[in-house]
Symmetry: C2
Subunit: 222 residues, 2 copies
């Protein structure tokens, strides 16, 4: 299964790419600019000290064409323009939206959320992409710093929301390939409204505590 | 320090009263109806198998008059009517709002939040009470079931938000008297907008997993 990461050169995308590459998954690092994607793959090779034959650099459009599952990791202000640029390249694939609606993306504070008309960034993707994609919300609470600290376990649960239970299960299985992560199904995509809003709280706790990797765990589930 | 719990006969209020009484704090159980408050105190005596000389039943008004710190634990639909009934009995005390803005309180689903004009239930209290109270948001994520399971540790952090750092610290100290609870300061009262919205997610996870005590822990703070 080829995992295409759209916006794979940002911190969050690169972190996910590293974690999946580390466990031997086939990863496509996508970017608007092929050179940036190639540079990101070189960076990954250095960080993992590995030739990474399973990792490829592509434009976002080629990455979408070639991915079996697509993960969107762009800041909020780039979400719609990126979706427009890849929509015609989608064919109903599982599309994981990791966008957080941070006010910081609009010149405000990263510790505040903004309300989107659709309810959440993931629902915005779902509304815009329609039948072109099977949207699942995941990964938005996991800090880039945790992901890129490649020798440490990620001490954060992955809260997964989506309308298609089978798609949720597949994304959960993928999330749990990241060492330390427990994946927790939260039900329908609308629950992304809550999960995405947790990210600015974690950023707030990062700033208050001078750290970069505040995470969360759900307790008592078993 | 006398802890007055307004709406102390509901599950959440009774749970907090039990936890504070258990560790020897002075607790006032408030209710609209004195008889209900008295019955709740009798229930507490049975559950803790103790005469509880430090626990008193009062009307909400008398509880407010006599409390050094006031904790509001009523469902959303009772919040404003309760605030109106006690406002004149407040004199700038620390006022802990534990209200969650659940859609279930308005005939909808307990797994969804409603948006309040003030941003959060705690900010609604702060706007209405003005100088009469020093509002802190806390306790809204801790399940009543966890609190009333008196022989088990509460596996949930207490996220504390308020504009007065000293008041936050006092509430955090109080919260950590509950066995198992870590208190985490989240900054200004506006952060209750996020923290309160976590409650419907935890209720969702309770329903999905057929449990009653889903909680959350923040990781990597130390």
């Amino acid at each position: 299964m080829k995992i295409a990461i759209i916006g794979g050169t940002g911190d969050q995308g690169l972190g996910l790419a590293l974690r999946f590459a580390k466990v031997g998954e086939e990863v496509i690092v996508g970017s608007r600019d092929l050179t940036k994607a190639e540079n990101a793959v070189d960076q990954m090779k250095n960080l993992l000290d590995d030739d990474l034959p399973n990792v490829t650099a592509m434009t976002n459009q080629d990455a979408t064409d070639n991915g079996d599952i697509i993960i969107l990791t762009v800041p909020l202000q780039a979400q719609m323009v990126t979706l427009r640029s890849i929509k015609d390249h989608l064919n109903g694939e599982i599309f994981v939206d990791a966008t957080s609606p941070l006010e910081g993306c609009l010149g405000g504070k990263p510790t505040r959320y903004v309300d989107l008309w659709e309810g959440s960034a993931a629902e915005r993707s779902a509304e815009f992409l329609g039948d072109q994609a099977n949207v699942v919300s995941a990964f938005c609470n996991i800090s880039a710093s945790s992901l890129t600290s490649i020798n440490e376990d990620v001490e954060c649960d992955c809260l997964v929301s989506g309308d298609d239970h089978e798609a949720n299960l597949l994304v959960m299985k993928l999330a749990e390939k990241i060492e330390g992560v427990n994946a927790i199904e939260c039900g329908a995509l609308e629950n992304a409204r809550i999960v995405e809003k947790l990210t600015p709280l974690l950023i707030n706790l990062n700033i208050r505590n001078k750290i970069k990797n505040a995470g969360l765990r759900i307790t008592n589930l078993n």
